[in-house]
């Protein structure tokens, strides 16, 4: 039915365009002078139909699922669902849905089969209603807009107003997205905090989210103190930056001051390739090459190295950050006015002295901003650590040990589990909330530093 609705929409849009343009042409043929071109009259009708009907269809598609679910649930016999909590109800609902789509396992109760039939009927009805409503709405709009065609009608102004509105809507999507992120995180996190006290989450030293999901299952009670996860994240971030900052900075310094144009022409694309490699590839690289190499190196020295050492994950993450830091540092160094460089050289400073004593100090604010953005990236980076870091939250700062990170926990807690009502899944959202807050603060700070720095020299 969805495609039928879209066909109605398309047909109505084209009809509106054609009808109004023809009407406008007829007026012009009578010798009257039109305010707007005939095309604009057509566009006016087309847009007037397209926008509201599309909104109706999309809203219908989004809302029909939940509404139908509710109707079906409320139609269930009272004795069947009287004493059930939300969790069990949604289980029943999904069973009914799978019956409705033809997958019957075992012999379900009679009322479930009835409910499945009702579900199918409702879906059918909803589909037809959607088509009917959009057809009716289209017709009304077509009629109204057709009546507005006249020589004096400012169709172009009207079209431009609609287009302006659409463009403003496009710009608002960014805000909607942010609001969506914040709402989703706040909502799920508050559910989490109703089960786990905030102080335990923020200051607890144990992270053992594997809690019993079924009744009677033997598992740990579950502990949700994020400190070890945070420490693990920081360990890996520090490892990554210890590698990436010097390499990135020296790369930028060399490319900016010493490199021949030929080397620059080769090095820049190489760095861009490093920056463009998807992180899942780096993750595989870490488990395929780096981790075994570190382990055998450790073994040759007689040091015990865990298989998912923080060093491997952090080191590979460092590789990912090299181009990031070097390009920021390169920009910052290039932004230092040439006059300062000339001033130092004219005093007889060597190029190294010019770089280290004048250019680099002058560029430090910009470089610090870039490094901060790299920190935020390292904290939020997911695939490398999911593949190469550990799962167990261990409170340690030893980079040869296995640690876990915020993003690893988010992914492992959510893979293969969708119910939003136990602390295990909700904990992922709480971690996501912390991740969002931390990276947002760092980003805002970094962008502010970088902008301030640009203002100094612009």
């Amino acid at each position: 039915m969805t495609s039928a609705a879209f066909i109605v929409l398309l047909a109505a849009t084209l009809t509106g365009y054609w009808l109004n343009r023809r009407a406008a042409r007829e007026i012009r043929a009578r010798g009257e002078r039109l305010h707007s071109l005939t095309t604009y009259h057509g566009l006016f009708a087309a847009l007037s139909v397209l926008v509201p009907v599309l909104v109706v269809i999309l809203a219908w598609l989004l809302l029909q699922g939940p509404v139908i679910d509710r109707i079906v649930l409320s139609g269930l016999p009272d004795e069947a669902i009287a004493n059930l909590d939300v969790n069990e109800r949604s289980l029943i609902l999904s069973e009914i849905k799978s019956i409705a789509s033809g997958r019957v396992f075992g012999t379900p109760e009679e009322w479930k089969l009835a409910a499945a039939d009702r579900l199918n009927d409702l879906r059918n009805l909803s589909g037809w209603l959607m088509v009917a409503v959009s057809a009716l709405l289209s017709a009304v709009i077509l009629f109204v807009t057709r009546r507005r065609v006249s020589a004096g009608f400012r169709a172009r102004d009207a079209v431009e107003r609609i287009v302006s509105g659409l463009m403003i809507f496009c710009s608002l999507v960014a805000i909607f997205t942010t609001i969506g992120i914040v709402l989703a995180l706040v909502f799920e996190t508050s559910k989490f905090l109703s089960m786990v006290p905030l102080t335990e989450f923020l200051f607890g030293l144990n992270w053992e989210p594997q809690i019993p999901i079924r009744e009677g299952q033997i598992a740990a009670e579950g502990a949700f103190g994020w400190v070890p996860v945070l420490v693990g994240t920081l360990v890996i971030t520090v490892v990554a930056l210890t590698f990436a900052v010097p390499v990135g900075l020296f790369t930028a310094i060399y490319l900016n001051e010493f490199a021949s144009p030929r080397l620059r022409a080769v090095a820049k694309p190489v760095l861009e390739i490093l920056a463009g490699v998807p992180t899942v590839v780096y993750g595989f690289f870490a488990i395929l090459v780096v981790a075994p190499a570190i382990r055998s190196f450790g073994a040759s020295l007689g040091i015990p190295v865990s298989p998912n050492t923080a060093l491997a994950a952090g080191g590979v993450m460092g590789v990912m950050l090299i181009p990031f830091i070097s390009s920021f540092a390169d920009d910052a160094l290039s932004a230092v006015p040439r006059a300062l460089r000339d001033g130092a050289l004219a005093l007889g400073a060597t190029r190294a002295e010019t770089m280290l004593n004048v250019l680099f100090p002058a560029a430090i604010p910009g470089i610090v901003g870039g490094v901060l953005l790299a920190v935020s990236r390292a904290i939020g980076e997911t695939m490398i650590v999911v593949m190469a870091a550990g799962l167990i939250a261990k409170l340690t700062i030893n980079p040869l040990d296995s640690v876990t990170t915020i993003t690893v926990q988010i992914v492992t807690l959510l893979i293969g589990d969708t119910s939003f009502d136990n602390p295990k899944t909700l904990a992922a959202f709480a971690l996501g909330m912390m991740l969002f807050i931390v990276t947002l603060l760092i980003n805002v700070l970094a962008l502010r530093i970088v902008r301030k720095y640009r203002e100094i020299y612009d």
Partner: protein, 275 residues
């Protein structure tokens, strides 16, 4: 703005005091210098001798190559990738483009002051101390203090900044910044001081101070100044070179050039018909 008569008399005085060009060896001697920026032929076959303890002015319309030529004298053109320099330039008889010469050493001997004041974003003290520090000219802090003080004194800035040597150099006024840059340049005791339109970013009062300073620096240094202001050239220099379209058109005593130019192009420029 300029009193021509008064200028004439000062110039005459200078002639009497210290003009004997034929007797002394030139400090800098340039022969058949050509400069190319990529495809552009910026300097065409320039030959000129620059005397010691003299102020030499390069004048000419903008784009005539006077700054480019100045930058050849301490190899600042090396820092521009596409620039090529041909010909010979001798400093005390030594070819400065000799591959064995390190531009670093050369630039310590041939200091430079730029068009726009460019103090480092460091303290006043550190700005002046920078050259002596990197070249290892001071054995200890006291010596360095001495160098900084005497350089600031010679740049006529000491009295204004002696109480705030730790303040950032970028916080000074434009004229003070330019004198700071001069102090920075003379702190390494160069033998030649190149000045690329040092007053173009300054107000008239600051300009007067810097010009006075240039006249005093003449006692110890060979000063080469690029200027687009003929009045300034007339006020501060003893020798003047007129550049036009990359060529050195005329070179001689400042008084001669301004009162009795030999080349018609020089005359047109001085009388304001080109430039």
């Amino acid at each position: 703005m300029v009193d021509m008569a008064a200028m004439g008399t000062t110039m005459k005085d200078m002639h009497q005091t210290d003009r004997n060009p034929t007797m002394t060896e030139p400090k800098i001697s340039a022969k058949n210098v050509n400069v190319f920026y990529g495809e552009t032929h910026a300097i065409k076959d320039v030959t000129v001798d620059i005397a010691d303890k003299t102020v030499t002015a390069f004048i000419g319309p903008s784009g005539c190559g006077k700054s480019t030529f100045l930058r050849c004298l301490n190899r600042m053109n090396d820092t521009i990738d596409i620039a090529r320099v041909q010909g010979t330039i001798l400093l005390d008889g030594q070819d400065i483009y000799d591959p064995r010469i390190d531009p670093v050493q050369l630039r310590a001997q041939v200091g430079m002051v730029f068009q726009k004041p460019n103090p480092f974003p460091k303290s006043i003290y550190d700005n002046v101390a920078y050259g002596p520090r990197i070249h290892g000219m001071a054995a200890n802090k006291a010596e360095l203090d001495d160098i900084v003080e005497s350089s600031l004194r010679r740049a006529a800035l000491w009295n204004e900044v002696k109480d705030r040597l730790d303040a950032p150099g970028t916080g000074l006024s434009g004229g003070q910044q330019q004198r700071l840059c001069i102090a920075r340049a003379i702190a390494t005791s160069p033998e030649v001081l190149l000045m690329d339109e040092p007053c173009s970013a300054l107000d008239p009062i600051a300009t007067a101070q810097v010009e006075e300073l240039i006249d005093e620096l003449r006692a110890n240094y060979s000063v080469v100044i690029v200027t687009h202001s003929m009045q300034q050239a007339a006020r501060v220099s003893q020798k003047t070179a007129f550049f036009h379209l990359g060529q050195l058109v005329e070179f001689g005593d400042t008084g001669e050039i301004f009162t009795n130019p030999r080349d018609p192009r020089t005359e047109s420029y001085i009388t304001g018909r080109i430039g």
